[in-house]
């Protein structure tokens, strides 16, 4: 695992090395009721081999950010602003054909529900083999099959040979997710996007899958974008995190820093809303609920629910401020600490 870097100066010198650089990404859904800015000016960086968490509640835009990177947005959704630089290549302006060469090969994705993302009428082995053959022209079927069985063994599927010719419904949820990971890792991607990979699994199986992902990440040096609502998963798996709310990044920094020194009232509220296994103190409640994306509040999007809101918050949208190096917060409480 890479150690999180702390100095911003160091970060800047590493700029050229960035694996994924999302700048001011805007993804909009043009619905009959109006425009929904699902992703509203999001900037995210991921270095090679780094594990980064994107956290937020339903509708905060975390999955849509991933879908925009993957180019999997469905109508009426559209990326209509910003840049996605992957390995120095600009993805947003690329043709669909060029993009397909990168997807599945250099960027792979795993989803929450492995049953719905696998084809129920094809054996799991064939499905993974297909992914391999698609991106490796000239590979024979036998070679590919061998590689698939190796991949199955790598992700800890017992009886890999036998499982190769089984259908998805014959596998348990944990095994299916392992197949998905094997498929994603088959081509040796540089970036793995994992959208709630353990949410549908039991805790002991979740622990196994996270352990496996961590192991693969360390061995293969794959960067991971972990999209989740579970702060525990982030604490365990990621080196840095971005907290999103209503389409914007509210706070970002290293996991160590944010869990010790949380700044944004929303992140703070989220953390205090999770029952931990040590105290029985009354849980904190963030009042109200997530705003309607069609009618966002003026000013800061979180201010109607915020305990610290000031008159200014209702007028003006806060920028990202940097209370400590590498730790960014979108809140006026930290305005004096310098602007980005």
């Amino acid at each position: 695992m890479r150690q999180p870097r702390d100095g911003e100066t160091e970060r800047k010198t590493m700029m050229e090395e960035r694996l994924l650089r999302i700048r001011d990404l805007r993804t909009t859904f043009y619905t009959r009721e109006g425009e929904i800015h699902a992703v509203d000016g999001v900037s995210i960086d991921i270095d090679a081999g780094e594990s980064v968490g994107i956290v937020g509640e339903s509708g905060c835009g975390k999955s849509m950010t991933a879908m925009s990177v993957m180019g999997l947005l469905k109508k009426p959704g559209k990326v209509d602003g910003g840049q996605i630089l992957f390995d120095q290549q600009e993805l947003t302006s690329m043709t669909a054909k060029d993009r397909r060469k990168i997807l599945g090969n250099q960027i792979a994705m795993i989803f929450q529900e492995p049953m719905t993302s696998l084809n129920p009428v094809t054996t799991v082995g064939k499905q993974v083999r297909e992914a391999l053959l698609l991106h490796n022209k000239g590979m024979t079927r036998e070679e590919a099959k061998k590689r698939v069985i190796e991949a199955f063994e790598l992700v800890g599927i017992p009886d890999a040979q036998k499982r190769y010719s089984e259908y998805p419904h014959q596998l348990s949820g944990g095994l299916r997710q392992r197949v998905m990971i094997a498929m994603a890792m088959a081509c040796g991607p540089k970036l793995l996007i994992a959208d709630e990979p353990t949410t549908a699994l039991d805790v002991t199986i979740e622990a196994q899958i996270l352990h496996l992902m961590k192991q693969l990440q360390e061995e293969k040096g794959t960067a991971v974008m972990m999209i989740t609502h579970n702060l525990g998963v982030v604490a365990q798996f990621c080196a840095r995190l971005y907290v999103m709310y209503a389409g914007k990044v509210m706070e970002s920094g290293t996991v160590k820093e944010i869990f010790k020194n949380v700044c944004h009232p929303y992140t703070d509220g989220l953390m205090r809303s999770v029952p931990d296994m040590e105290s029985k103190e009354r849980l904190y409640n963030i009042r109200g609920m997530v705003p309607n994306m069609l009618h966002l509040p003026k000013g800061c999007r979180f201010c109607p629910r915020c305990q610290h809101s000031m008159p200014k918050c209702f007028q003006q949208e806060p920028d990202l401020y940097e209370p400590s190096p590498g730790h960014f917060v979108r809140c006026f409480l930290f305005e004096s600490e310098g602007e980005r």
């Binding site: 996270l210 525990g232 604490a235 869990f259 509220g269 609920m289």
Partner: protein
């Protein structure tokens, strides 16, 4: 709990499902969903059933309300055996036992207004003589769960997930029950809404002296809400006792692995985790002989395969293991 009055208890409660092939002919195979569970629920407490999918926690919870008919065993509610009750007699029991479901989208009829959703149990049991009285009670219930009474004529789709769960809770409260079976009531909700509902459940319990049977797989939530927990694995009770004690010193190996598997909120603790439980949950059609957990248990010895461990008392808790852990 000072008085320890038993509200509901089960004796050797068992549920088995016969497997059938696609022509409806029995295959002589049996799914052992719940096998011989005997537990007590005390008045005023929250007892949580915890375990992974397929451990039988939901089946057990639903059996206690006879939403699922037990294959064998007894359920005693307030000292009376309700397993032999007729439907008519059961409807009287349902005034005292109510249920809250997991999915607030599926458990409310989309064509009914809040007025009718919450008012339905009141009308069915003819609690009030006039419509005005029923409406007043519905509004009172809405207030209790934090929904503005003006919204009485809205439909479920006009509410968010958290609000719908509140409507479900109001509906369960309508008949002033003694016991509420909560089947994963917060699993479908976002973290910030989850904490609101948990606090609401706690407040209501205090106000109306309710007893909860809380079914959940989320060990953090369970720790927060329950007085006692009952850990289940493949239809059997592994360990049952006071929450704090079990979380501090689990005695059954499965309980310990379950607790360790939860990702900690402290990054420094979380990133160096000790042991991970290997393997998958065995099939309930052919559960392992002896102790059902033995195929995954690193401490299993010969006897575990031969003899099924009984639930033995250790101080205030009961553990079903031949080799219970010492703290």
């Amino acid at each position: 709990m000072s008085e320890k009055e038993v509200l509901l208890l089960t004796r050797d409660l068992t549920k088995e499902y016969k497997l059938k092939n696609s022509f409806g002919i029995s295959k002589k195979q049996v799914v052992h969903a719940v096998s011989g569970v005997s537990i007590e629920i005390y008045k005023g407490e929250t007892l949580s059933l915890v375990g992974e999918s397929g451990c039988g926690k939901s089946t057990l919870g639903r059996m206690m309300m006879r939403l699922i008919e037990p294959t064998d065993g007894q359920i005693l509610f307030e000292g009376k055996d309700i397993t032999i009750y007729s439907d008519k007699q059961m409807s009287q029991v349902y005034k005292k036992i109510q249920m809250i479901f997991q999915d607030p989208y599926a458990s409310l009829d989309p064509r009914m207004k809040v007025r009718d959703l919450i008012g339905e149990p009141l009308v069915t049991h003819k609690v009030y003589g006039t419509k005005e009285e029923t409406e007043a009670r519905v509004k009172e219930l809405m207030g209790m769960v934090g929904i503005r009474p003006e919204l009485i004529d809205r439909y479920p789709h006009q509410f968010s997930g958290g609000q719908r769960q509140r409507i479900g809770i109001a509906r369960a409260l309508a008949l002033k029950p003694k016991l509420i079976v909560c089947d994963e009531p917060v699993s479908a909700l976002d973290v910030s809404i989850q904490s609101q509902i948990l606090n609401l459940l706690k407040d209501l319990q205090q106000e109306f002296d309710l007893t909860y049977l809380f079914i959940s797989h989320d060990l953090g939530v369970v720790h927060y809400i329950s007085d006692r927990i009952c850990v289940m694995f493949l239809g059997k009770v592994c360990e049952i006792g006071e929450t704090g004690e079990i979380y501090k010193k689990p005695m059954h190996p499965y309980t310990r692995f379950l607790l360790q598997a939860v990702p900690s909120m402290d990054p420094e603790k979380a990133q160096k985790r000790e042991q991970i439980l290997a393997g998958e949950i065995p099939s309930a059609v052919n559960p392992p002989s002896g102790c059902r957990f033995r195929t995954r248990c690193p401490y299993a010895e010969e006897i575990c395969g031969e003899k099924e461990p009984e639930l033995k008392e250790y101080g205030k808790r009961k553990v079903a293991c031949h080799f219970p852990l010492e703290g």
